[in-house]
């Protein structure tokens, strides 16, 4: 027998083997494997990217929190990294819902600050009045009645004005960095911008001298509208900068400032009689 004949004899191969060799190749399985591999790579890349991004965001938040603690001389003792961020968010938004926040504030009080608070409010600092301690001790707000001088290193923008019980009030945005001839403030200068370093100021006109005097000022806040209660007390709206949010999720990569809208109520003498956080306002940049 020669090769040619043996080639013919290959015709004796079992039909099962012939069918088997003619079976279509399972391309899908290979294709599926390739797709799975590609998908796995994508998932890995996405995870790495997301992980890196999440790490960067977390680090930025932590750094912000540390700076906040340092700026206000708050103690980080016995706080974990997560606690520090949570307390930062809690205090910065003035929510005071985190149980650590009150302890941090109380533990950060110096004896002098505690004494001053006690003298002013006739009560010892305690967990029940943490919000007051924060506002009047750490934020240096001035709840004092009466008037204080104007700092001429600020530019003043009148946001709203109102006359109540014969007194004229103006709500003013004081923006640090530009000098301004304060007595020139008038209602036409009303502007609603948010830029620079703001201080919300409430001013009243002295009926005798016709000069404007500061009743109340809130560093880091933006002045809002004026209104009055049914009992003719003055209501002053202030937007306190609560949180800056960077949103890469939007197509324009915007920054948002989430502000708490706080209403301060004053009596005739200019004394603060009530404070209430009413809602939140979001400014987009």
């Amino acid at each position: 027998m020669n090769g040619n004949e043996l080639l013919d004899k290959m015709g004796l191969i079992d039909p099962a083997f012939i069918e088997e060799a003619d079976a279509p190749q399972v391309k899908k399985a290979v294709a599926l494997k390739r797709w799975l591999a590609a998908a796995a790579c994508l998932v890995l890349l996405f995870s790495l990217g997301f992980g890196t991004y999440a790490y960067a965001v977390e680090a930025k938040e932590y750094q912000e929190a540390l700076e906040f603690f340092e700026e206000h001389d708050l103690t980080t003792e016995n706080l974990s990294r997560t606690d520090i961020k949570e307390v930062y968010n809690d205090i910065a938004t003035e929510s005071f819902t985190n149980s650590f926040s009150a302890n941090v504030i109380l533990n950060s009080l110096t004896p002098e600050q505690a004494k001053a608070y006690e003298n002013r409010f006739n009560q010892q600092p305690s967990l029940g009045n943490v919000k007051e301690i924060w506002t009047y001790v750490f934020k240096n707000a001035e709840p004092t009645a009466g008037y204080s001088p104007i700092d001429e290193d600020f530019r003043y923008l009148v946001v709203d004005s109102m006359e109540l019980k014969g007194k004229k009030y103006v709500s003013v945005d004081a923006i640090e960095g530009e000098k301004c001839n304060y007595p020139q403030i008038n209602e036409e200068d009303i502007s609603r911008r948010w830029s620079g370093k703001h201080t919300a100021m409430l001013l009243v006109e002295d009926p005798d001298t016709k000069e404007w005097q500061v009743i109340y000022k809130m560093p880091g806040a933006r002045a809002g509208e004026l209104s009055n209660t049914p009992k003719a007390n003055l209501v002053w709206n202030v937007e306190t900068s609560a949180k800056i949010v960077y949103s890469p999720g939007t197509s324009s990569f915007r920054y948002y400032i989430v502000c708490d809208l706080v209403q301060y109520t004053f009596d005739d003498s200019g004394t603060l009689v009530d404070t209430a956080k009413t809602s939140q306002v979001i400014h987009k940049f």
Partner: protein, 186 residues
């Protein structure tokens, strides 16, 4: 229509059997024939001759469980004969190449027993194929039964041509050893 029903048509001498066969297996048979004769018209002739021979072979055969291999074997045989009869240079070269490869599988007569019948040889070849793993067996069958080129086999199984050649070389040697061991003289 399933194979058993088609075979029943043949058995009852119903001419629609050929139409059903062509509808179900015509394309595969044509492809098989074209792979051997490399000519469209001749391949069509082979396909049609296959139907004719199947008509004449069923009965007595009754390939209900293996209708396609049965038809494909007929097609292969007819296509090989066409190649040889018409002496097409290119395909003859292909057949010569395959024949030369097959020569390597033939055991030395001095070390083997008496010549074997087709049935014994068929059993030996199938026994040998049973010892191979699936891919090697498929490569061997594609090459020496379907007469595919090495390039086509490589493409079919996503292998390099050198890998296919090496596999075939080893399979041929193993077949020769197997036939020697079985005492087959060709």
């Amino acid at each position: 229509m399933d194979d058993s029903q088609i075979v029943s048509l043949y058995l009852s001498r119903d001419e629609t059997a050929i139409g059903q066969t062509a509808e179900k297996y015509g394309k595969r048979l044509y492809t098989l024939a074209y792979g051997i004769v490399a000519d469209e018209q001749t391949a069509e002739e082979c396909e049609n001759d296959t139907y004719m021979q199947a008509w004449n072979s069923i009965p007595p055969h009754e390939p209900r469980e293996y209708l396609y291999p049965f038809l494909a074997r007929i097609t292969r045989h007819i296509a090989l004969n066409h190649c040889r009869d018409r002496e097409r240079l290119k395909r003859s070269a292909h057949i010569c190449e395959l024949s030369a490869e097959m020569e390597q599988c033939i055991p030395d007569p001095k070390t083997s027993g008496c010549p074997v019948e087709d049935m014994v040889l068929g059993e030996a070849i199938n026994g040998f194929l049973g010892t191979l793993d699936t891919q090697k067996r498929n490569i061997f069958v594609r090459r020496y039964w379907y007469m595919d080129s090495v390039a086509d086999i490589a493409r079919r199984y996503r292998l390099s041509e050198s890998k296919v050649k090496t596999t075939l070389f080893r399979c041929r040697n193993k077949l020769r050893e197997y036939l020697e061991k079985e005492g087959c003289t060709l």
